[in-house]
């Protein structure tokens, strides 16, 4: 038996070595850009490769509700001295944000501030996130062997803990479908990845959101129904808007508070003792907001805000954007809302952080905002199917 176990042990070591050789040495850079992991990886890649000009960089994490448009905030760099960037990825959660930050800022010295958004400062869980399996798909490229225990145990259910451990240990299994698709269409994938690396930041920078708005929506809160809805949404969209606007207020849950303390707390702890400040702010919540939301003075967010290096923005900072004409659905700002939000955020950052260091105040224009962008979008790239639409640049209002 000893001989068998020795050989099996050696086989396992060789297997992990092969797995690491294949998937921990750069495979993540050729993930399918339209996959969950590849999409997040694209944001991370863009941010890592974004040329930094000076130390007054401010990064926002978040999900699709973060309406930051850097092509708007860039207009204010000369006024505020701060350059805003975003790795807000639709569908991500605080757990994802922590690992994304670790990836883009390994030495914890890249940013003057990290902006962390909340839908509410209270511990009311509108959507269960602690055991979200989707996080595994998002985070597969970012997880390291050292995360085995902490990441796996952050799930509360054992099957998910097992799945999380597998994602950390066996990268090949995590990327199995992606790898098979890569084998099937190797050249197309490589071409697509090259294109996304070259143009992805440009597409995100110039993307245009929903142009419709919800002007005219009226809610009868007593009857808990929408009485008037604009005409443009189709039936499915109307249903979605109803669900979002009328969603009930969930109770305060200790488990959600624990989740926030675990992951937002991890972000705060990560930057403790550095020059980077962590700013908590509440997002504009919707075109119509249910009245009478109780406030919890001792919520996890408020407790964390007492830690050094944390700035807690006034909860009602963005209430003025909670207007139907600035929303494209029940939760997300539309194009106009995004512009308003970005303009306000650019100004508020200076207010929250104070004046930028004088020595690094200068105009900063990223390459994709420059005149020569058309030269970079060569005809060779235009022939390849673009994973994202390439919209016309909208004038900034």
């Amino acid at each position: 038996m000893t001989r068998l176990f020795l050989r099996l042990g050696l086989a396992l070591i060789l297997f992990f070595a092969l797995d690491a050789l294949a998937f921990r040495t750069g495979y993540t850079s050729i993930l399918e850009p339209n996959s969950t992991a590849g999409y997040l990886q694209q944001f991370v890649w863009n941010e890592i490769h974004r040329p930094l000009r000076g130390p007054n960089q401010v990064l926002t994490v978040g999900d699709s509700r973060v309406g930051l448009k850097t092509r708007v905030t860039n207009l204010f760099i000369e006024d505020t001295g701060y350059t805003l960037a975003s790795i807000a990825v639709p569908g991500t959660t605080p757990r994802c944000w922590y690992y994304m930050l670790r990836e883009v800022d390994p030495r914890r010295n890249r940013y003057a501030a990290i902006l962390v958004p909340f839908d509410t400062y209270n511990d009311r869980e509108f959507e269960p996130v602690a055991d979200r399996e989707l996080d595994l798909h998002y985070l597969a490229p970012l997880l390291r062997l050292s995360d085995l225990w902490s990441f796996s145990m952050s799930y509360t259910e054992w099957p998910l803990r097992g799945l999380a451990a597998r994602t950390v240990l066996l990268k090949g299994m995590a990327f199995q479908q992606d790898f098979q698709a890569y084998l099937a269409h190797r050249h197309a994938r490589e071409e697509e990845v090259r294109l996304v690396h070259r143009m992805g930041a440009f597409w995100i920078y110039n993307s245009v959101w929903e142009l419709h708005n919800l002007e005219g929506i009226q809610v009868d809160w007593a009857a808990n129904r929408i009485t008037t809805m604009p005409a443009w949404p189709d039936a499915a969209k109307r249903h979605e808007i109803e669900d979002e606007v009328l969603r009930p207020i969930p109770p305060v849950t200790p488990s959600y508070a624990a989740y926030r303390l675990r992951w937002i707390g991890a972000i705060v702890d990560r930057y403790r003792g550095t020059r980077t400040r962590v700013v908590f702010y509440r997002l504009p919540r919707g075109p119509e907001v249910r009245p009478g939301l109780p406030e919890d003075a001792d919520s996890s967010v408020r407790r964390m805000a007492r830690r050094p290096g944390v700035v807690l923005a006034d909860e009602h900072t963005f209430d003025f954007l909670e207007r139907p004409e600035l929303f494209g659905d029940g939760m997300h700002l539309n194009e106009a809302g995004g512009i308003e939000f970005s303009r306000s955020l650019a100004q508020l950052v200076r207010q929250w952080l104070g004046p930028a260091q004088e020595s690094v105040r200068f105009a900063s224009t990223p390459w994709y905002d420059s005149k020569d962008v058309s030269r970079r979008v060569s005809t060779r790239h235009a022939r390849v199917r673009a994973p994202h639409p390439l919209p016309a640049q909208e004038p900034v209002r």
């Binding site: 038996m1 001989r3 068998l4 020795l6 050989r7 099996l8 050696l10 086989a11 396992l12 070591i13 060789l14 297997f15 070595a17 092969l18 797995d19 294949a22 066996l170 090949g172 299994m173 199995q176 790898f179 098979q180 084998l183 099937a184």
Partner: protein, 459 residues
């Protein structure tokens, strides 16, 4: 509980721990309980069937030994065979016969149909049981006096579901002269389990997708290139599926100290159909030879009797696989080819002849059309597509082509050098490296979380 699921591996680890952890007298009880548990995981009620068949054949063998006259001995044999074939006939062939009878009498096919569940592995364990009773009757096997031992022979979980069909003298020799597997046997056992998993999950299941797609909608893939790629995909699937299962069964048994015979010997490198049947499902073909072909007269009564015997054996062998005219046609097709080869004097050659091997593979693949297609008309339609129409396109993605080519190269190398057999004796880094590569293949291609049942489980 399929062999390629985590549940099975957990079960096996527990069984091995108990088997080697308990004193030797208790070990066969552990194996019997584990085997019955394994069977009951599929359907607990049907354990009564396997126990009943075990009791019948055990008693019949004892009667054969103690019977005073040859007539009584024969009566005991017939009773046993009738019970086995009766159960097999009812569970496997009743609806087939009923629907054909209904058609003959111009009634709807489902007129007399019953909702019958086919008990898992019934074709295998009844054949195993019958061979034991026949051997006892022939005086080639001493009857087993210990009912537990006999029950274990019938229900032993590594080969219960889909063979290999183990002869009684082999099994009881291992049981009564049990010795722990030595280091080489342990390494071989583990290698066979891992390699069997690779065959099943990395190769068979990948080609199953292509075969399933083609056989479900052949019209969606026009052209003979597409037809051949769909049919060859099934040829690859069925071989790697069944031989993968068999490798695992042999490996698992070896880890428990039981040595099962070889069941496949690179059949797609056969140089004739006669050679093919010496390499394909060897335990079944040798069973058919010993208990059907030879008793029918074999090749001892002239040329035409031999052809008839070949045809009858293969027709029944085809029918053994499933209750459908397609299987009968498949058996008849192979019977016809065997007879034709004998008539033409085509002898299996040991020399390497790629042309003959390719031709034999093509003939075997054409036969698989009847095996895989749902109905006889569907088989004919696909056969037509193999030889006419536009060229069309290959259905295989490039990387599956590479898998097929790699498999072919490994098979050729194995045929000439028997590398895999010699693997346990190689230096540690070679053996461990081979296991590591297999694990990587399983990780990247094999484990999809959606276990595809083994093809032969339905038989």
């Amino acid at each position: 509980m399929l062999f390629h699921t985590p549940q099975f591996f957990l079960f096996f680890v527990v069984v091995v721990a108990l088997f080697y952890g308990l004193p030797r007298p208790f070990r066969k009880y552990i194996l019997l309980v584990a085997s019955y548990f394994f069977y009951m995981c599929w359907n607990a009620k049907f354990i009564l069937l396997i126990v009943a068949l075990t009791a019948i054949d055990y008693t019949a063998a004892m009667w054969i030994r103690s019977a005073a006259t040859p007539a009584r001995r024969k009566a005991a044999l017939i009773a046993s065979l009738a019970a086995n074939l009766g159960f097999l006939g009812f569970f496997k062939y009743y609806n087939f016969l009923a629907s054909n009878l209904a058609l003959l009498m111009a009634k709807p096919p489902g007129e007399w149909a019953l909702a019958i569940i086919l008990p898992m592995g019934i074709s295998f364990h009844t054949f195993q049981s019958m061979s034991y009773v026949i051997d006892v009757y022939r005086g080639e096997q001493e009857p087993i006096t210990n009912a537990i031992d006999y029950a274990l022979y019938i229900a032993f979980f590594p080969q219960l579901v889909a063979g290999p069909i183990v002869r009684a003298h082999n099994f009881f020799n291992d049981l009564y002269h049990w010795r722990a597997p030595d280091a080489g046997e342990q390494l071989r056992g583990v290698w066979l389990v891992v390699f069997g998993l690779v065959k099943k999950l990395v190769v068979a299941d990948q080609f199953a997708r292509l075969a399933d797609a083609y056989f479900a909608h052949p019209a969606a893939y026009p052209g003979y290139f597409a037809a051949w790629s769909g049919v060859v995909a099934f040829s690859i699937q069925i071989f790697f599926d069944f031989s993968g299962y068999t490798d695992m069964a042999i490996g698992l048994a070896q880890l428990l100290g039981f040595r099962f015979p070889e069941n496949f010997r690179r059949p797609y490198l056969a140089s004739s159909i006669t050679d093919f049947w010496r390499r394909w499902h060897i335990s079944l073909s040798s069973w058919l030879r010993d208990y059907l072909y030879i008793p029918l007269g074999g090749n001892r009564h002239g040329r035409f009797q031999t052809y008839r015997n070949l045809m009858l054996t293969m027709l029944l062998g085809g029918l053994w696989h499933g209750a459908s005219w397609n299987f009968v046609v498949w058996g008849g097709y192979h019977g016809g080819l065997l007879a034709a080869e004998r008539a033409l004097g085509v002898a299996p050659k040991r020399s390497w002849n790629p042309l003959r091997i390719s031709f034999t593979f093509a003939l075997a693949s054409i036969g698989w059309v009847f095996f895989r297609a749902r109905t006889f008309p569907a088989s004919l339609e696909i056969l037509g597509r193999l030889f006419r129409g536009p060229a069309g396109h290959l259905m295989w993605p490039h990387w599956q082509l590479w898998i097929a080519l790699a498999s072919l190269m490994l098979a050729v190398a194995e045929e000439r050098f028997e590398w895999f057999e010699r693997l346990p004796g190689t230096p540690a880094w070679v053996y461990s490296g081979a296991i590591a590569v297999c694990l990587l293949c399983l990780e990247l291609i094999g484990f999809t979380g959606r276990p595809v049942p083994f093809v032969y489980f339905q038989f």
